[in-house]
Amino acid sequence: MAIALILVVVVVGSIMFHVLSPWWWTPIASNWGYIDDTLIITFWITGVVFTLVILFMAYCVLRFRHKEGRKAAYEPENNKLEWALTIVTGLGVAAMLAPGLIVWAQFVSVPDEATEIEVLAQQWSWNFRLPGADGKLGLSDNRLIDADNPLGVNRSDAAGQDDIIIEADDLHLPIGKPVKVLLRSADVLHDFYVPEFRAKMDMLPGMVTYFWFTPTRTGEFEILCAELCGVGHPHMRGFVVIDTEEDYQEWLQEQSTFAQLSSPTKLSAAARLEE
C-alpha cells in the first residue's frame, strides 16, 4: 500500500515542484527563444509519459497485490499491444526530434550579415577581438602568443592591424545585430557560456569553433566557463555588455587597435599630435 501511495506522491510532488518552485531558467536575451520552445515541448511530452507510466504502475501495485487465492494471468506476448505501444512511442519521439532538428538547422546556419568576433580563453580569463574598420579579423596562431601579443595576432597580416583588442575586460556588443562568435583557446578546453544567450560552445587550442546569436536585450550578462579547465574553472568570469548602437559606438572609440597596442611609442606620439 505504502508503495502505491509513494508512487502517487512522487508524480504529484514532481509536478508541483516543477510548477511552483522558484527555480527556472534566466530570462532570455538572445534570438534563441526557439530553443526554449523545444525545451517546453519536451517537458510536456516527457511529463505526460512519466505521469502515465508511474500512475499505471501505482494502479497495478494496488489492484494486483498478492492476496490469498490470487493467481497471475498467463499471457507471454501480445503482438497488437506491443506494436501499438511501439508506434505511439515512435510518434512521441518524432514530435520532439522534428522541431529539435529544425531549430538545430537554424543554429548551424550563420546569417551572412553576422559580424565575426573572436573570444580567446586562457586559464583563467577571457580576451576578445573585434574586427576594425575593414570588417575582417586578421590571422592568428597560438604560437605567436607572447607578453606583447596576448592573442597571437599575426603581425604580417594587414587585416589584423586595425583589430580591436580587449584583454581581460568586458566585451560590448550592439543590440539586434547577429554576431558569429569565433572561439579559441590558448591552453586547455574552456566553454563560452552565457546562460541568458542559451547558446554555448567549447573552445579548444588548435581549432576555431563558433556559434552565432543575435542579442535582443540590453544589459550586462555574465560569462561563465562551462568546460572543466583546471582549479580556476569556476572563477573564470567576464561580462558581455549589450549596448544600444550609440552607447556601443561610444565604447568602441575608447578601445585600442592591435597596431596601437603593438607600438606604444607611436600611439603616444599620435595622441600628442591630436592635442
Partner: protein
C-alpha cells in the same frame, strides 16, 4: 497465444561434449583465495567493488558538503574538490558498477543460470580478479601519491588532464589513473571472454538461447559490448601516457600555458573525446543492460507472472547494445566537432529511446494482472522503474541536440546521469542482493533493516537528484566547487543546495545499515532453504545451498522450458522450474539425481 513458451521436450539435444573434470582445490589457499570457482571469484569481485564503492560514497558526501555549505570546510580546497569528483565518478562507473555487474553477478549467475559447472576458462577467470584487484590498488595508491590523485574529471579530457593547472596533471595522479584503467581493461578482458564463451558454449542440454533468463541476456550483451568498447579507452590511455611521458602530441596541439609555449604541436583534443565516448556511451549500457536483465527476472519472479514480451525484450537488449555504438557523439554536441554531426547523432540517440521504452512498458505490463508480492526485491525493482523512467526521459532533453545546448555541462546533466546510470542500476543491485543473498549464504537478509534501507534510499535518492535538474536549468555549470556571484545565484538556490546535501548524507547513512545487514544476516538471518522465492531458473534448483563447486549434482539439469513459467494454467504449482518436464515425466536418470 505466442510460441514463447515451447512446452517442447522435443528440443533436448543429446549431450555432445563429455564433461571435463573440474580443477579440484587441494588447500585452503586454492579453495578460498586463489580460487578457480566462479562463485568464489564472484564474491571476491563483489567484495572489492563494494569496498572501493564505499570510498566513492564517502567522496560524494564530501562533494555535497562543499556544495551545500560552501566555505565551511577548509580542507576541501578547490584542488581537493576536483580530485574528489574525479575519483568519485571514475570509481562509481568503472570500479564499482562495471566490476560488480560483470565480475560479480556475471561470475555468480552465468554458470548457474545456464546450467554449467563453472566458467569455461577457470584459471583465466581467477587471473581476471587478481588483475582487477591490482587495478584497484593502483587507483587507491594515487590518493597517497605526491600531489594526490588526478582532478581532471572522470572524462580525463586533455590537454587539461596532463597540464599543470589541474591537480595531478604534472604529478603522479594522472599516470596512476591511466595505469589503473589499463590494468582494469586487461583484467576485464580475461573475465569477459569467459562470460561470452561460457554462454555460447557451456549451456546445458535444452537451454537454447531463447530460453535463457534475461539476466543472462543482459550480462552477455553487456560483456560483448564491453569487449568492443574498452579497447578504445585502452588506446586512448596509451596515447595520453605517451603524450605525458614521451612528449608525443596525439592529443596536444600547440599551446601556451600560463604564458609559456609548450613543446607540443599538431595533436587533436577532440580525437581523445571521440575515443573516450566511443567507450563511454556503450559503458552506460554496459551498466544498464545487466540491470535491465536482472530487474526483468526480479519482477517476473516476485509478480508470479511471466515476463511480458520475452522475445521483444531480448531483441530490445540486443538492439540497444548495437545502437549504442553509433550514438557516442551526443556527449560532444558542444565540443566543437563539426556541428552537422548533430543531425545524425540526435536522430540515432532518439531512436534508441524506442527499444528502451518498450522495455519499460514490458516491465510495467508484467506487473499488470500479476500476483504482486511486495518483497524487498520487488520494492527495489519498482524503485528502479521510477528512477530509470525519470532519467531516461531527461535523456530525451540531452539527446535532442538543440535542447542540449543550454543544458550541456550544467548540473542538469549531473542529475540526469545519476538518475539513469547511478541510482537506477544501484536499485537493481540492491534488489538483486536481497534476491540472491539466500542462494549465496542460505540465509535471508533481515527484513526490517531492508525495509528501512529501501524507503530511505528510494525517497532520499529521488529527493537528491530530482531537484538537482532545476539547479542546472537555472544555469549552474557542473564541476563548480563554488558558485560565486551570478544573477541566478540566489539565496533560494543556496538553500536548495543545502537541502540536497542533507538528503545525500541521510541516504549515505542508510547504506551503512545495509552493510551491517549483510554481515548480521550471515549469522542471524532466517534460514532460507534452497528456493525461498519459488523461482524457476536453474540456480534455485541446485542440490546444495549455497551451491558447491561444480554447482549441480551428478548430472547437469536438462532444460524443458523458458525461464518464465509462472502461474501456468493447470500446472500443479504457481511456478514450473526450467528443468521441470511437466506435463511429461522426467527421464529416469533425471529423476534419480
Amino acid at each position: 497465444m505466442a510460441d514463447a513458451t515451447p512446452q517442447a521436450v522435443d528440443n533436448i539435444p543429446p549431450a555432445e561434449v563429455p564433461e571435463v573434470e573440474l580443477y579440484h582445490p587441494k588447500s585452503w589457499w586454492t579453495k578460498y583465495v586463489f580460487s578457480q570457482d566462479a562463485k568464489v571469484i564472484a564474491i571476491q569481485y563483489s567484495g572489492t567493488a563494494i569496498a572501493i564503492g564505499l570510498v566513492a560514497l564517502v567522496l560524494s558526501w564530501l562533494i555535497r558538503l562543499q556544495l551545500g555549505f560552501p566555505g565551511t570546510f577548509d580542507f576541501i580546497t578547490p584542488e581537493a574538490y576536483y580530485q574528489f569528483i574525479t575519483m568519485h565518478g571514475m570509481i562509481m562507473v568503472v570500479y564499482l558498477l562495471t566490476a560488480l555487474f560483470l565480475g560479480g553477478f556475471g561470475n555468480y549467475l552465468i554458470p548457474l543460470m545456464v546450467g554449467a559447472r563453472d566458467m569455461v576458462f577457470p584459471y583465466v577467470n581467477m587471473l581476471s580478479f587478481w588483475v582487477y584487484l591490482l587495478a584497484v590498488l593502483v587507483l587507491v595508491a594515487s590518493f597517497f601519491a605526491p600531489g594526490g590523485p588526478t582532478g581532471a574529471g572522470w572524462t580525463l579530457y586533455p590537454p587539461q588532464a596532463i597540464t599543470s593547472g589541474t591537480p595531478g596533471g604534472q604529478q603522479a595522479g594522472i599516470l596512476l589513473m591511466l595505469a589503473s584503467l589499463m590494468l582494469f581493461i586487461v583484467g576485464f578482458t580475461m573475465g569477459g571472454l569467459n562470460y561470452v564463451v561460457t554462454v555460447l558454449q557451456a549451456r546445458t542440454r535444452g537451454m537454447t538461447l531463447m530460453r535463457m533468463p534475461l539476466t543472462v541476456w543482459g550480462i552477455f550483451t553487456a560483456t560483448v559490448m564491453a569487449l568492443l568498447a574498452f579497447p578504445a579507452l585502452f588506446v586512448a590511455c596509451v596515447m595520453m601516457l605517451f603524450d605525458r611521458l614521451l612528449g608525443t602530441s596525439f592529443f596536444m596541439p600547440a599551446l601556451v600555458e600560463f604564458g609559456e609555449q609548450l613543446e607540443y604541436g599538431g595533436g587533436s583534443p577532440i580525437l581523445f573525446q571521440h575515443l573516450f565516448w566511443f567507450f563511454g556511451h556503450p559503458e552506460v549500457y554496459i551498466v544498464a543492460l545487466p540491470a535491465f536483465g536482472i530487474v526483468s527476472d526480479l519482477i517476473s519472479t516476485h509478480a508470479r507472472k511471466n515476463i511480458f514480451g520475452y522475445r521483444m525484450m531480448v531483441w530490445a537488449i540486443v538492439g540497444i547494445g548495437a545502437l549504442s555504438f553509433i550514438v557516442w557523439a551526443h556527449h560532444m554536441y558542444v565540443s566543437g566537432m563539426d556541428p552537422y554531426f548533430g543531425f545524425f547523432f540526435a536522430t540515432t540517440t532518439l531512436i534508441i529511446a524506442v527499444p528502451t521504452a518498450i522495455k519499460v512498458y514490458n516491465w510495467v505490463l508484467t506487473l499488470w494482472r500479476g500476483d504482486i508480492h511486495l518483497s524487498l526485491p520487488m520494492l527495489f525493482a519498482i524503485g528502479f522503474i521510477v528512477t530509470f523512467v525519470n532519467g531516461g526521459l531527461t535523456g530525451l532533453f540531452l539527446g535532442n541536440v538543440v535542447v542540449d545546448v543550454p543544458l550541456s555541462d550544467t548540473m542538469f546533466v549531473v542529475a540526469h546521469f545519476h538518475m539513469v546510470m547511478g541510482v537506477a542500476p544501484i536499485m537493481v543491485i540492491f534488489g538483486a542482493i536481497y534476491h540472491w543473498y539466500p542462494k549465496m549464504t542460505g540465509r535471508m537478509l533481515n527484513e526490517a533493516m531492508g525495509q528501512f534501507h529501501f524507503w530511505v534510499t528510494f525517497v532520499g535518492a529521488y529527493a537528491i537528484f530530482f531537484p538537482m535538474h532545476y539547479v542546472g536549468l537555472v544555469g549552474v555549470p557542473r564541476r563548480y566547487h563554488e558558485l560565486g556571484d551570478a544573477t541566478f545565484v540566489t539565496d533560494s538556490l543556496h538553500s536548495l543546495n543545502a537541502f540536497i546535501s542533507v538528503a545525500a548524507l541521510i541516504v549515505g547513512f542508510a547504506q551503512v545499515v545495509f552493510m551491517f545487514n549483510l554481515f548480521w544476516s550471515l549469522r542471524y538471518g532466517k534460514e532460507s532453504g534452497g528456493n525461498p522465492w519459488r523461482a524457476t531458473t536453474l540456480e534455485w534448483q541446485t542440490p546444495e545451498t549455497p551451491p558447491i563447486h561444480g554447482n549441480f549434482g551428478k548430472d547437469l539439469p536438462i532444460v524443458y522450458r523458458w525461464a518464465y513459467d509462472y502461474s501456468v494454467p493447470d500446472a500443479p504449482d504457481d511456478y514450473l522450474a526450467q528443468n521441470d518436464p511437466w506435463p511429461q515425466k522426467a527421464p529416469a536418470s533425471e529423476a534419480a539425481s
